[in-house]
């Protein structure tokens, strides 16, 4: 019993997302037992990877007390930039990826500096950035994307290590997702991570104790920009270029992070749970599809489940935490 409590405390109310994930997978198993064969699980993880990577980036921003609404537009912009600059020429792949990385870092830096130095609320800063990116890309391309991605560019999002016994193919996207996830978790264990949480939890207290709140918050935006760049490479690689890439992703990813038990306003939640939130959302999409739920009904059901899950988590959090009993029983 104490063990269960300890585990519960460790997850800081994030248990709901793992419960939701388990339930969703259980339901998928009931509807279509064949889903749990290795190839289709790998396909699922491959298509979920971009959202998980984005969730890791968004987590840094949200836990430090901000939002990044510009990630969807940034993902779209990155894919369009890549297609236009590469234009089907293989040798340009790596240079263009470096350009994209610089662009992602630049956008994150601008978001961060406007929010911390100019004191513009991040909601407005990044909403503005969303519109700026959307408009700039339309202006630059004349309305719709042009050019073509190279085969090499598409490899990380589409292909994998083939011929693995039992599994078949291990997607590169899965390995990238695991690497990003591990990186995010490790980063949160450093001094940087603790300052980040402290900034979101109680900004004033963090400042008074000498933490460089503005610096870590700006860094969080930069990390979000980098994650959007990686997600852009994965999504572009997965499906190629289209005008609508990235549309609405910002809301899906913020939902994922909140579903993972990360409090909007910051200061609470773990990177692992945020990424599990992204996985849970992708799992719900898969479940609806496996259930052949009419397309028109899906957003409503998805919304209801998310509200229910977050409300359930909030109820659990509001109840007083079980006091460790000192006296032996």
């Amino acid at each position: 019993m104490t063990r269960v409590r300890a585990l519960g405390a460790a997850l800081q109310g994030a248990g709901t997302v793992f419960l939701l994930l388990a339930l969703t997978f259980a339901a998928i198993a009931v509807v279509n037992p064949g889903f749990f064969e290795a190839p289709s699980v790998m396909a699922f993880l491959k298509q979920a990877a971009p959202l998980v990577v984005l969730a890791a980036g968004q987590y840094f921003v949200v836990v430090s007390g901000n939002f990044d609404l510009s990630v969807g537009a940034l993902v779209g912009a990155q894919v369009v930039i890549a297609a236009r600059l590469i234009d089907g020429v293989e040798s340009r792949t790596v240079p263009v990826m470096l350009v994209m990385l610089a662009f992602g870092i630049g956008v994150g830096l601008v978001n961060g500096l406007i929010t911390t130095v100019l004191k513009v609320q991040s909601f407005i800063t990044t909403l503005g950035m969303l519109l700026v990116l959307y408009g700039a890309i339309r202006l630059w391309t004349g309305g719709a994307p042009t050019g073509d991605l190279s085969e090499a560019f598409r490899t990380p999002g589409r292909l994998g290590i083939t011929g693995v016994p039992l599994i078949g193919q291990i997607p590169w996207a899965l390995l990238i997702m695991l690497a990003v996830g591990a990186g995010a978790i490790l980063l949160m264990r450093t001094r940087f991570g603790r300052i980040l949480i402290a900034s979101g939890d109680n900004e004033l207290a963090a400042r008074l104790s000498g933490a460089r709140v503005d610096a870590v918050r700006t860094a969080a935006f930069v990390l979000s920009g980098i994650s959007a760049t990686i997600a852009g490479v994965l999504i572009g690689g997965f499906a190629g270029v289209s005008a609508q890439v990235g549309e609405g992703l910002e809301f899906t990813v913020i939902t994922a992070v909140v579903l993972g038990g990360v409090a909007l306003g910051g200061g609470r939640g773990t990177a692992l749970a945020a990424m599990a939130g992204a996985l849970a959302i992708e799992a719900l999409f898969t479940l609806f599809n496996q259930m052949a739920l009419p397309a028109t009904l899906r957003p409503a059901v998805q919304g209801a489940i998310i509200i229910a899950a977050v409300a359930y988590a909030a109820r659990r959090r509001l109840r007083p935490a079980p006091q460790p009993t000192a006296a032996p029983s």
Binding site: M1, V4, R5, G8, G15, L19, L20, L23, T24, A26, A27, V30, V31, N32, G34, F35, P39, S40, A43, Q47, P50, D87, G88, R138, G142, G143, A144, P145, T146, G147, D148, R158, I235, F238, A239, G240, V241, S242, A243, Q244, V245, E247, F285, T286, L287, N289, Q290, M291, A292, L293, P294, A295, T296, V301, A308, Y312, R316, P322
Partner: protein, 398 residues
């Protein structure tokens, strides 16, 4: 305490999921039919459907080498009242948007055609506005053109049908010739309304091909961009008619927003549920992503209805799959400016200028690929600008 509650909630949630699972699982067919038929009734007009399907077999008047000047069963109207001496006319164009590759391709073609007419001295100034898919913006764009009093002819590509109707009527009332093309409006006040045959014909071309090339009992997945847009709804309504009379099983119809990643996700998930033998699309955006989903899942290629976007035509050629590319004739973007100069010369034009709309089949695939060899992948094969002086640079270096 905590664990009991957790268990209770878990049980309740699981029950809920299973309940929804069961109710939607067993009566899948009737439920699907009910929803889809509801939407098709709203958008399906039998007479219009019959007319469009018949128009596919009518030989258009005019030279087949210049399909943008051909017309199906035209009713010629006199435009003598608009005759204007002296050339160098100011032609104005209110564009709904250039927000998809189809419109971008057409817009380039139109500009190149205008250059030719400008050199010939027929058009002086070509004024344009882009409403960015915003009805209100387009209404004020049209009003501004009318108020300026400087347009000798006004071309309108409406963003939506009903909302733009009053603005088009205002333009007609100002006494200048008005040319409407692509999507229509609910008034026939325009001097000419230019459009290819239409959505029913498009959807039917695609659906008939699947019916002919698939065994009875085969499973078809329909991928749609979004609900509620008439040109797209007509395509799906026609397909439903044809699938309804066939022995094909429609697995589902999914909205993708035209997003390649979404398309690939959805197709991948359908393939996890079972085989898919055919794909019907209401527009070819992202068709390649759908094909790739089959490749990545290691499944045989489906029989496929895409569109004449080059990325799909090239994929079709590479894979040798059984496919068709229905066409919503992109060359229609040339016609309005030519019509404007005809009207200003006082020549007759068709009141409703119905352009031919023929799908690209296996037989003419190589021809269209060769003609568009230099073109980027988001270009439309039937753009009809090969004879314009700007070809190929204007379309290649967009």
């Amino acid at each position: 305490m905590q664990t009991t509650r957790l268990a209770l909630a878990a049980a309740a949630a699981l029950g809920l999921l299973l309940a929804t699972g069961c109710t939607t699982d067993t009566p899948t067919e009737p439920a699907d039919d009910a929803t889809t038929e509801g939407s098709s009734d709203e958008w399906f007009v039998q007479a219009e459907y019959d007319a469009q399907l018949a128009q596919r077999d009518i030989a258009p008047e005019g030279d087949p080498a210049t399909p943008w000047l051909q017309a199906i069963e035209p009713e010629w109207v006199d435009t003598g009242e608009f005759t204007r001496e002296g050339g160098d006319a100011t032609v104005c164009f209110s564009n709904a948007s250039v927000s998809n590759p189809w419109r971008v391709t057409g817009w380039i073609t139109m500009q190149e055609q205008v250059k030719v007419l400008q050199e010939a001295g027929e058009i002086g100034e070509f004024r344009t506005s882009d409403a960015g898919d915003d009805d209100d913006q387009q209404i004020s764009d049209i009003q501004a053109f009318v108020d300026s009093g400087e347009c000798d002819a006004l071309i309108i590509s409406p963003s939506t049908t009903a909302t733009l109707t009053p603005a088009v009527e205002t333009a007609c009332a100002s006494g200048i010739p008005v040319i409407v093309f692509d999507r229509g409006v609910n008034t026939d006040c325009a001097t000419t309304f230019i459009h290819p045959i239409g959505g029913y014909a498009y959807g039917a071309d695609a659906a008939e091909f699947l019916v002919e090339n698939l065994e009875p009992g085969s499973k078809v997945l329909a991928l749609r961009i979004l609900p509620g847009v008439d040109v797209l709804e007509h395509r799906w309504a026609a397909a439903q008619q044809i699938f309804g009379d066939s022995e094909l099983e429609v697995l589902g119809d999914e909205f993708t927003g035209g997003d390649a990643a979404e398309i690939k996700n959805i197709v991948t998930q359908y393939l996890q549920r079972g085989d898919v033998d055919g794909i019907w699309m209401d527009a070819g955006d992202g068709a390649v992503a759908a094909v790739e989903a089959f490749e990545d899942a290691g499944k045989p290629y489906p029989v496929m209805a895409g569109e004449d976007e080059l990325s799909f035509l090239r994929k079709w050629d590479e894979t040798g799959m059984t496919a068709i590319a229905p066409v919503y004739s992109n060359f229609q973007w040339r016609t309005p400016v030519l019509a404007a100069t005809m009207i200003l010369r006082g020549e007759q034009v068709p009141a409703e200028w119905i352009l031919p709309q023929e799908p690209i089949t296996e037989a003419d695939l190589d021809d269209y690929l060769a003609r568009n060899a230099d073109m980027p992948s988001l270009h439309y094969a039937k753009f009809g600008g090969e004879d314009l002086p700007g070809f190929p640079d204007a379309w290649r270096d967009r």
